[in-house]
């Protein structure tokens, strides 16, 4: 069990192991085998076998008569013939023709792998459902196919991580967005900044540039602190992330701002002396928001609440890994 967990950690994602299992269980022999296999007839001479093995650098071949597999002949059989100085004899004298170990085109690679282990053979002719020879498979073929499949799997996962746009494009809808919701408690200064930090982490994770993540985080932080400092019951933050635009809304249920225009003036604040002592209430919050957003709107009504909407346009340079300024 312990080893399994370590492997999970090594993979960095729980899904990968499941995926490998899937690959081994579901990958069919037909996908892995070498088709168009070179064959010999039982009447051909051992000399012809020698030429074939040498020319194609292989170590054995199936023997076929009238489209039907009748045996397998290998380099070992050739050595026997050489020992007997008998290269002119037909292959049928030396080939293995009883208890042939074969694989089936439609069986999972896993099954073929088991047979390799049980019978300790180097290669297996592959037959289709009607018993016709369609290819040949070696252990090496299976290893290579699994490695290739794994590589595909990883590069797919990587490109998803590196490029948010691909992540979004992979999900089909008329308009796909990722929504993150946070509730913010009034007066809870010790958790202040948690929501904005989470938004920032999420953005970086899906591939936003540090610069984009930073300006969204700064504006969201100001909105979050406003909910903590100025509301009666706190409120919520909703971040809606789309490939071309990010919208963050901070909303509360009161008390509401008497004069929205005044609230937007630099230096204006209604923060209490205690809050100011902590370094808040500079009256720069909404000014910061304005500076970081491409569009902001502030709506408020006394006794109803306040809604701050911040829109960030995502420019092509803001996706990817360029460094922060």
């Amino acid at each position: 069990m312990r080893r399994q967990f370590a492997l999970f950690a090594l993979m960095g994602r729980g899904g990968a192991l499941t995926k490998i299992h899937e690959l081994i269980r579901e990958m069919k022999v037909s996908r892995v085998m070498t088709p168009n296999v070179l064959t010999l007839t039982p009447g051909a001479s051992m000399k012809e076998l020698k030429e074939l093995l040498r020319e194609h650098r292989i170590s054995g071949a199936p023997v076929v008569e009238d489209d039907e597999l009748v045996g397998v002949v290998s380099i070992e059989d050739l050595i026997h013939a050489l020992e007997n100085i008998d290269l002119d004899s037909p292959i049928r004298e030396y080939m293995t023709c009883e208890d042939l170990i074969t694989a089936h085109a439609q069986e999972p690679v896993m099954e073929a792998l088991r047979r390799f282990e049980t019978f300790n053979v180097g290669r297996m002719p592959v037959l289709d459902a009607r018993g016709k020879l369609v290819g040949i498979i070696t252990r090496g073929d299976i290893t290579m196919a699994l490695l290739r499949a794994l590589q595909d799997l990883y590069s797919e996962a990587e490109s998803m991580q590196d490029r948010p746009q691909q992540f979004f494009e992979a999900l089909e809808s008329d308009n796909t967005s990722l929504q993150l919701r946070y509730s913010v408690e009034q007066g809870n200064f010790s958790d202040g900044g948690e929501a904005s930090a989470s938004v920032k982490r999420a953005l970086l994770r899906i591939g936003a540039s540090p610069k984009l993540a930073r300006r969204v985080a700064i504006a969201t932080y100001e909105a979050e602190m406003n909910l903590i400092i100025h509301t009666t019951h706190g409120g919520f933050i909703l971040a809606d992330i789309q490939p071309s635009e990010i919208t963050v809304v901070a909303q509360d249920s009161g008390p509401g701002i008497p004069d929205v225009e005044l609230a937007r003036q630099p230096g204006y604040s209604t923060a209490t002396p205690e809050v100011r002592e902590m370094g808040f209430g500079a009256g720069m919050g909404l000014v910061n928001v304005d500076r970081c957003t491409d569009d902001m709107s502030l709506w408020s009504a006394i006794g109803v609440g306040t809604r701050l909407q911040m829109v960030f346009k995502v420019s092509p340079e803001e996706i990817g890994n360029e460094t922060d300024d």
Partner: protein, 110 residues
């Protein structure tokens, strides 16, 4: 110059984030009003302040400052330091006031 070199040159105490002293310092910013810091401090800056409550960690983390320097040896609450450790924020303490601390930093070329 990295944080470690500054800690040694100014004889600062490392209160949190010991593991991140290799961070490169590219500038500095001093203020106690968090919105001003949000607007003015850059990633890689040293932020010199007298504030010690937990929210300075959130601000430092969001901005990606290289380290936070609390001046005048002001006592930093345990909760703030715990939070700093969790969020990989370096918190340093300077026995000297803000002005002198900055003067030393300027001498170092920050």
């Amino acid at each position: 110059m990295n944080v470690r070199a500054i800690v040694e040159a100014l004889d600062l105490d490392v209160l949190a984030g010991e593991a991140y002293l290799d961070r490169e310092v590219t500038g500095g910013y001093a203020a106690d009003l968090l919105s001003c810091v949000m607007a003015g401090a850059e990633a890689g800056d040293l932020w010199i302040t007298l504030q010690t409550h937990g929210n300075i960690v959130a601000v430092a983390s969001l901005l990606g400052v290289a380290a936070l320097v609390v001046a005048e040896g002001a006592e930093v609450p345990e909760a703030t330091l715990t939070k700093a450790e969790q969020q990989d924020v370096v918190v340093l303490s300077s026995a000297e006031p803000v002005y002198e601390t900055i003067a030393h930093l300027v001498d170092l070329g920050i």
